[in-house]
């Protein structure tokens, strides 16, 4: 099994200081986290591994070097292998260029029955990368999975959560599955695995922190695979900004036409007057 994951800014725990005075997001106060639905996806993979001992989970992420953090989080929960795909050549990728890079990486990993990923990432909400990867690999997809009902060596039965209902479908392997947030949450970190992998990192990170590196003795810790554009077979022109058909033409600060708002205090007579006004103008009642 291959699980696709993304490190995203945590847009959910937006506190007061999350917005700067100019109305933009203060990214420095938003922690980078494991995209929530990708964790739901990892849990589904772990459940399958529980049922079929001997199956393995490879976690694949594309992003800057610090995205290795989420691979470590995956190891703590039971992933067997992790690959960080990182290269300046990928910078500025839209969903299509991202899915191309991921598909090329998966072709190199080659041996898989299932690719499982979150339905969408919270920083873009496009839900495009999963299906785009499946198309590039020429395999079927089952989106919006809420529950994997049954897995056999030949096929998989899945309950999908749609906008207005549910659907139970059956597909064969290989298949790409995207998982909804309505699926069970991911198990917590395992204490033993935490001890085992807490120093796991990539070679470049290890070299960066020269203390550890010079001190030696770190060899016993796992070095997480770090792949660059040279490690995969791909056409460079399909990567990054250049390989992205969508371009941002412009970004506008939005100025809403300010209305002349009437300010009302939280006082009985003021609120009573407002409700009267709403009723007499037939807006309510």
């Amino acid at each position: 099994m291959i699980v696709l994951a993304k490190q995203v800014p945590d847009t959910r725990n937006v506190g007061k200081d999350a917005m700067k005075a100019d109305g933009t997001v203060n990214r420095s106060v938003l922690p980078a986290i494991f995209n929530p639905e990708d964790l739901h996806a990892l849990e589904q993979a772990l459940c399958i591994k529980d049922k079929f001992p001997g199956s393995t989970i490879t976690l694949l992420t594309m992003g800057p070097v610090r995205a290795v953090e989420i691979l470590r989080e995956g190891f703590y929960r039971g992933a067997d292998d992790g690959i960080l795909l990182t290269d300046r050549a990928f910078a500025g990728s839209d969903t299509l260029a991202t899915s191309y890079a991921l598909a090329c990486t998966i072709k190199k990993i080659k041996d898989f029955d299932m690719i499982i990923c979150g339905r969408q990432a919270i920083d873009g909400d496009t839900a495009q990368v999963g299906p785009q990867v499946a198309e590039k690999l020429g395999i079927p997809q089952i989106t919006y999975a809420e529950e994997i009902i049954n897995v056999s060596d030949k096929n998989i039965r899945i309950k999908r959560r749609l906008e207005r209902g549910v659907e139970i479908v059956e597909g064969a392997f290989p298949v790409l599955i995207t998982v909804n947030s309505s699926a069970p949450a991911c198990r917590p970190r395992n204490a033993k695995l935490l001890m085992k992998y807490k120093h796991a990192t990539t070679m470049s990170k290890r070299q960066e922190s020269d203390n550890d590196y010079l001190a030696g003795g770190m060899d016993s810790y796992l070095t997480i695979k770090e792949w660059s554009v040279n490690d995969i077979v791909c056409e460079r022109e399909q990567l990054g900004l250049g390989g992205s058909p969508t371009k941002v033409k412009k970004v506008d600060n939005i100025v809403f036409q300010s209305k002349e708002s009437k300010r009302i205090e939280d006082l009985d007579e003021d609120i009573s007057a407002l409700m009267k006004e709403l009723i007499t103008s037939h807006i309510v009642g």
């Binding site: 959910r12 109305g23 933009t24 997001v25 839209d94 969903t95 299509l96 899915s99 920083d123 909400d125 496009t126 839900a127 495009q128 999963g130 299906p131 785009q132 990867v133 499946a134 198309e135 079927p140 997809q141 089952i142 749609l162 906008e163 207005r164 209902g165 549910v166 659907e167 139970i168 479908v169 059956e170 597909g171 298949v175 992205s244 058909p245 969508t246 371009k247 941002v248 033409k249 970004v251 600060n253 939005i254 809403f256 036409q257 300010s258 708002s261 009437k262 300010r263 009302i264 205090e265 939280d266 003021d270 609120i271 009573s272 407002l274 409700m275 009267k276 709403l278 807006i283 309510v284």
Partner: protein, 339 residues
């Protein structure tokens, strides 16, 4: 060739509202571009649907009619759409940002190598000058959507790849009949030529489609809560107020993420778009993504303890106070004044 094409969705034997909304927008775009508006309908027993579709100004309706094509499944619908687009080469392709459109759109864009912008809130036609190579692109589709990062709105273009693809949520565009007498041509596709038997690999075993329990979209009063409501208990106050006023309860994304309300009540760019007579925003700060889904409300009341909340700028009335204090008063004085 190079027309505007709308993929029409079927649900429970009916064409979805979002498809009619997109046809209405597509008609505008096609008129501006001086090209034809085309529709693609894939399913089973499609005779007669043309009578519903042509009044929206559709010039050509492609149908792929086969018992195996309903309900929707990914690969067969993808193959038909991709193969048709390879022949007809539309310049613009629109789909609903629904369970179906969000499953199909990325697949089609990936197969054709064309760009896809999700959850657009506006679509316009405009030019683009590429300074790098001094090239001027005429009549591109501006795909406009709020972008992550607060109060900014991004205009996305696909200069070189066709079709220019976009998905739009239900309720964002307005449904408008073009001309009741407008009529076009029906082109029945030979399904065997467009989809291979091997595409039917994922089998649908069971389906339960439920009628949506909440009907926020058509409610004339919406009481919506944000993260500032503070707790699921306080959210119950919103339900009380909505019941008293004969309205529905909505929520911002932050409130949904915090577990105060169900996802099907989310209002905004990635939720429902509403245009009620009265919108009461309780403890909602007013991120652009939320405002995109409610700014066309006729009257907006904001209840917020923060006088500088962005939503106050577009509110007709701003009540400075805490939700749990203000709402009981609103209920009390509404009841007193309607006696």
């Amino acid at each position: 060739m190079n027309n505007v094409c709308v993929y029409c969705e079927l649900e429970e034997g009916k064409i979805s509202d979002v498809s009619f909304e997109l046809l209405s927008k597509g008609r505008n775009l096609a008129t501006q571009l001086n090209c034809r508006l085309e529709a693609l309908l894939i399913g089973n027993k499609l005779e007669g649907f043309e009578k519903e579709i042509f009044p929206y100004g559709v010039d050509v309706l492609y149908t792929a009619d086969d018992a195996r094509l309903y309900p929707y499944s990914t690969l067969p619908h993808t193959e038909i759409t991709v193969n048709l687009f390879k022949e007809t080469k539309p310049q613009i392709a629109l789909m609903g940002a629904t369970s179906i459109g969000r499953d199909l759109g990325p697949r089609v864009s990936s197969a054709l190598g064309s760009g896809l912008t999700a959850d657009c809130t506006e679509l316009e036609i405009g030019d683009h000058e590429e300074k790098k190579n001094n090239k001027v692109y005429k009549n591109l589709l501006y795909q406009i959507r709020p972008a992550f990062g607060g109060n900014i709105i991004a205009t996305i273009i696909n200069p070189d790849c066709r079709p220019q693809m976009a998905t739009v949520r239900e309720g964002v565009m307005k449904k408008a009949i073009h001309n009741l007498r407008h009529t076009g041509e029906v082109v029945k596709l030979d399904v065997k030529k467009y989809v291979d038997d091997t595409a039917f690999v994922v089998k649908i075993i069971e389906r339960h489609i439920e009628k949506s329990k909440v009907n926020i979209k058509n409610s004339s009063v919406v009481v919506a809560g944000g993260f500032g409501v503070g707790s699921a208990e306080n959210f119950q106050l919103l339900h009380k107020l909505a019941t008293v006023l004969g309205g529905e309860v909505g929520a911002s994304r932050a409130a949904v993420d915090a577990g105060y309300a169900d996802h099907d009540r989310q209002i905004g760019q990635t939720g429902i778009t509403v245009r009620p007579k009265l919108y009461i925003a309780c403890g909602i700060s007013g991120q652009i993504q939320h405002l995109a889904g409610m700014q066309e409300s006729s009257l907006i009341i904001s209840i917020n303890s923060d006088p500088n909340a962005p939503i106050n700028k577009i509110a007709n009335y701003v009540i400075a106070g805490r939700v749990e204090n203000v709402i009981p008063k609103m209920i009390k004085y509404y009841k007193e004044n309607t006696k």
